[in-house]
Point group: C2
Chain length 228, copies 2
């Protein structure tokens, strides 16, 4: 490590590949084939370089996906959020919901451990809005985190079920007759058996928002009570 304080601005073999180029190609492949079918090797082939080259511009495949998500997150418009704390929480959460609904594969990626620490400032802005709203409402900071976490998983769950349903139809891969469950014991599980294929019925956005309101109301009240 010689000459630490003398920054050499240019040295080394000139790159033929750029991170932006990789991300653009990845976006194209995902749009065409779906993100499950994106492989590092195919992505490299698309660009016309060796597979291992990509690892100089991107840490992992997961890192690549997070870069894409953050790129998308930059474009999500933050509408003017209401001043009133409770409404601000709900509006921010609904914005998160709509962004994920438009890009369902992001929700699948974002179930990864520790995802949130890897988001960029812009997507985190909506998280900030939820936390700030909860604190303004009177929650402790710790409880505000809890509020966000509950909302987050509530929202992601909704998105996952929807994209799962859209992909495979009403029945899951393991079932046959259109019913969601395979062989269910109607004696022991009468309600589930009676549901048939209605398990995968989609909740419309209004239902999501109504449920969100209920959840937020409960969480905020709990947060204020905890402070007292």
């Amino acid at each position: 490590m010689p000459q630490v304080n003398a920054p050499r601005l240019k040295a080394g073999r000139p790159p033929t590949t750029s991170r932006a180029q990789i991300l653009a190609a990845a976006r194209g492949l995902i749009d065409r084939n779906g993100w499950e079918r994106l492989t590092i090797r195919k992505l490299a082939a698309e660009i016309g370089v060796g597979a291992t080259t990509l690892y100089h511009h991107v840490q992992d495949k997961e890192d690549l996906l997070f870069l894409l998500i953050n790129e998308y997150g930059e474009q999500v418009s933050h509408p003017g959020l209401p001043e009133e704390p409770r409404e601000r929480v709900i509006a921010a959460a609904a914005t998160i919901h709509d962004a994920l609904a438009a890009w369902p594969w992001a929700a699948e990626v974002l179930t990864t451990d520790g995802f949130i620490a890897r988001l960029g400032d812009s997507p985190l802005g909506l998280v900030e809005a939820v936390v700030a709203g909860a604190i303004d409402y009177g929650c402790t900071p710790d409880h505000a985190v809890y509020v966000f976490r509950s909302i987050w998983y509530y929202t992601v769950g909704e998105i996952l079920v929807r994209s799962h349903t859209a992909r495979r139809g009403n029945g899951a891969a393991t079932t046959h007759h259109g019913a969601f469950f395979g062989n269910i014991d109607a004696e022991k599980l009468p309600h589930l058996a009676a549901l048939g294929d209605r398990w995968a019925v989609l909740a419309p956005r209004d239902t999501y928002v109504d449920g969100l309101r209920a959840l937020v109301d409960g969480l905020l009240a709990q947060g204020v009570a905890a402070r007292a």
Copy 2:
């Protein structure tokens, strides 16, 4: 395909491997090394057979994991659940929570698409209790599904955050100074920046249950309102 109607009860090379043996070995490896480190090849080597042999007793690796989960699910005790519908929903959900907390890797596996269709009767019994409670309370069947789904993701999210925190400590892998977030812009995201490492603070079980009550109250009220 000759002699379709004449069932030959025994034919073919006698098996040296049984599904039960595979599951037992898998359980051992998971207990010793964690489920992330379980590989088909190591599992086969542990038993002393070729890797491909396992595929005659199990569909996939995912199938293997679900078999283990269902085995565990059989052992989860279903306590006497309260008669009153709302309390029944809460008690069943709390039982699910406690079972997952005792076996956190199950929660990670169960975020897979369509998971629930692959659960056995015994674990589904708790799902049944939630749905039945919601219907008894006055929700429509469709909304009862929604109630369960919301509770489910709320619960799984809590478990995931806990096991993530337990595994990597308070900070995620991408952070350094003990803070959960990496380089956060304190100007744009003041509340998140102020949180520091408190993002990963665990909610104790009581907080979980309180939040659950809030969620269930809201969801049930919404379900009844939807019916009217």
